[in-house]
Amino acid sequence: MKKFFKDNSRELSVVVAIVIMFVAFGIIQPIYLSANNIRDIIEQATIYGLMGIGITGVIITGGIDLSVGSVLALVGAVVAQMTVAGVPPVISIIIGLAFGFTLGIFNGILITKFGLQPFIATMGTMAIYRGLAYVVTKGYPVLGVPDTYRKLVDGEILPYLRVSVILFFLFAVLMYIILKKTKLGTYVHAIGGNEEATRLSGVKVNKYKTLIYGIAMLGTALAAMIQIGKLGTGDPTTGQGYELNAIAAAAIGGTSMAGGRGTVLGTVLGAILFAGLKVGLIVMGVDTFYQYIATGLVIVIASYIEVVQTQISNKTGLLMKIFSGKSSNKSGNA
């Protein structure tokens, strides 16, 4: 139990921040805690959450992916065009996932085979993919995504429960398993912790690094396909600036931008915190200009809570050790 708390101290700190936020907003505006509103928050969290979960894998390797926003638009536009053209929804989705994966792999290849810095490589593809989205749609939104498709990815299968939320959950579980339970996951962490040492251990670093860029993009592809389901439209202009929000979800959730550390659960919580904050400011009717300031402050404060919580949990570890005379297992220190 103690071990659980210690192992997940970062995630807990986000939970603490979320609870503080919900209580604060709830006191001022009780409607914030209504079932409808909480559903809205969770639905809002799906898009950034899916993108963020994917990106978490990339950030753990010490990389970054700025192209996710453009991929959101490109994959969304292409899949929308397919469904409109009458391609069966399931096939469109499979093609969409494969397409997203390919775009991610392309990023990965630029970074590993061509040796570009992740920031600059994905900044380049961010522009390229955006341009492609405009070119394939001629700049027009793709209208009329059929209902069969929309139901498939975003239908309400139970009251308050949409397929999209289930997909979000499933992808989170998938990434959790990949990062925690597979060889790839170990290598991703190892590369982020010490790429050279990993290479010297005989790991084909480039291969796994490329792979994680591809898998990460599955999250964005999924987000794209859910978004067109939600909106009924494939918009080539969508997703601008989303990369920062997705990265913020990961970072608030305790993912270190320096690599080596990050969890899926943290990112999911980070996305919920982010969505909850946005919705909360709106429910409170905060003036837009002050919303910027409030958003910034919450980002800063949430991360600071994480920093403090980590320190406290380290000290607790210390106290535990002093009193029990036993060495504790893990340290949250970085």
């Binding site: 597979t182 170990t186 962490h189 912790g193 040492a197």
Partner: protein, 504 residues
């Protein structure tokens, strides 16, 4: 015994440095073959060529009369040729088991890691190696010595035919060294070929069958250990006679009535507690103990690198502000840390910048750093520590392991501190240079400075220090003045033979 590994006319040129020049020799199957030579002689480079980390500029490597040219560590490992690197290459956020199995994970159900099995096998291996830590521990929580053991265990885990060990004992305790030697001998009995680099000659004599000597990248000789004397070995390594090392040459100059540093009931987060001692002016005070005794942690707490949880520190009678390393440096305390790669030097700086890092104010010209002054100092101090190459523009990260350690030493020699804490200062340093460092320590005393030395080498501790404090598991268990030095008693205290005995 036939030729098993054959190096033929190996030359390796780095930009700015010729590391190996036309080296040819062979290694027999199933022998323990030592590679010896001064820092920067090219030992690690030669092994790196064998293991696919670098390619040779010229020359060929044969294994079993077949030419091999590995282009990556991966290929070499596939062929059963593994290496324990000189620098610890650990991944801090992963567990011991994950580090050890990296690249050789055990899989179940197609793609899921079998963590239980990995932990079990790791733990078995660790137990066999006499390691008392858990396979589930995160790597970053291990001491240097324990990390080193994990590196060694990692090589053993792979079913290797050839194992290279690049200074494996540099951060191991005596007990661990014993176990390691036992295991190496077992490996040899199983027909595995071992390449062994060490600066500790007694180890070479105990363990190895033959030794190849390199000097300045040149092949000097391959000697049969059984028919060689220590002097002969040293002469071929250094090219001259080296005076007996590990002994004080100059007169002792402790001023018993002048206390420089006084520590009162210091305790810290790592777990050490109630540390009390005084450092006298002109003294070399040695902290001896097994790896894991928390000497490093105590020193870091004194230096302000970690925050102590209790206790007082006085420097020259005044309370020391040790809120941060910078405060300590200002007050005149320096620390040469044990872990040179992670805490010692900055990889993207040149030698002169690394050497100047703690004393930049000395090379200022108004607002600007005077590059000439800085480089002049670097060359001057580099000469003192026999840095090779002593080139101020050379990137420290491209130096050999021992030379990087010398750069760190040079950094603190350039900084005017009254108390220098040296944590394992001769780790990975060749015999010739070791003697130089000992001499430098005495020079420092002559300048009126005082030294705390953390050492795990008893010969060094007894040879060099005025007083030895023995630590075990975070507490001071004994103290010896020079006239009381006795090898057995010190070791007994260190390993915990005399528990809870009143020592003061």
């Amino acid at each position: 015994m036939e030729d098993y590994i054959k190096f033929q006319n190996i030359t390796k040129i780095f930009p700015g440095q010729r590391a190996l020049n036309d080296v040819s020799f062979h290694i027999c199957k199933g022998e323990i073959h030592a590679l010896i030579g001064e820092n920067g002689a090219g030992k690690s480079t030669l092994l790196n060529i064998l293991h696919g980390m670098f390619s040779a500029t010229k020359g060929k490597v044969f294994i079993n009369s077949e030419e091999v040219k590995f282009t990556s560590a991966f290929e070499a490992i596939q062929k059963g040729i593994v290496k324990v690197h000189q620098e610890i290459n650990a991944i801090p956020e992963l567990t011991v088991a994950e580090n050890l199995m990296l690249g050789n994970e055990i899989i179940k159900c197609g793609f899921i890691l079998n963590k239980d099995q990995m932990i079990k096998e790791t733990q078995e291996l660790l137990d066999k190696l006499g390691c008392n830590f858990s396979a589930k521990e995160k790597m970053k929580n291990l001491s240097t010595g324990k990390k080193q053991m994990v590196q060694i265990a990692k090589a053993l885990y792979i079913n290797a035919k050839i194992i290279s060990l690049d200074e494996p004992t540099a951060s191991l305790s005596d007990g661990e060294v014993r176990i390691l030697f036992k295991i190496i001998n077992e490996l040899k009995a199983n027909g595995i070929t071992i390449l062994y680099i060490s600066h500790k000659l007694d180890e070479i004599f105990e363990l190895c069958d033959r030794a190849t000597v390199l000097r300045d990248g040149e092949y000097i000789a391959t000697l049969n250990i059984k028919q060689t004397t220590e002097d002969e070995l040293i002469r071929s390594m250094v090219g001259r006679d080296v005076s007996m090392f590990g002994q004080r040459i100059k007169p002792f100059r402790v001023e018993k009535d002048k206390t420089v540093l006084k520590i009162e009931s210091l305790s810290g987060t790592a777990g050490f507690k109630n540390i009390n001692f005084e450092l006298k002016k002109g003294e070399i005070l040695c902290f001896f103990g097994l790896v894991g005794a928390m000497r490093t942690e105590v020193m870091r707490a004194i230096f302000g690198a970690d925050h102590a949880t209790g206790g007082m520190i006085y420097l020259n009678g005044n309370t020391l502000d040790n809120s941060s390393p910078s405060a300590c440096v200002k007050e005149g305390i320096g620390l040469i840390s044990e872990n040179r790669k992670e805490e010692g030097f900055v990889k993207n700086l040149t030698n002169s910048d690394n050497i100047a890092l703690a004393s930049i104010q000395n090379y200022m010209n108004g607002f600007f750093v005077n590059r000439r002054l800085k480089e002049k100092n670097a060359v001057r101090v580099g000469e003192k520590v026999k840095l090779n190459p002593n080139n101020p523009d050379f990137m420290t990260s491209n130096l050999s392991g021992g030379n990087a350690q010398k750069v760190i030493l040079a950094k603190w020699l350039s900084t005017n501190v009254d108390v220098l804490i040296m944590d394992e200062p001769t780790k990975g340093i060749d015999i010739g240079a070791k003697a130089e460092i000992y001499k430098l320590m005495e020079d420092l005393l002559e300048e009126g400075k005082s030294i705390i030395m953390v050492s795990s080498e008893l010969t060094e501790a007894m040879g060099m220090s005025d007083r030895i404090i023995v630590m075990r598991e975070g507490v001071i268990v004994a103290e010896f003045n020079r006239d009381e030095f006795a090898e057995e008693r010190i070791i007994t205290y260190a390993v915990g033979g005399m528990k809870n005995e009143e020592v003061f």
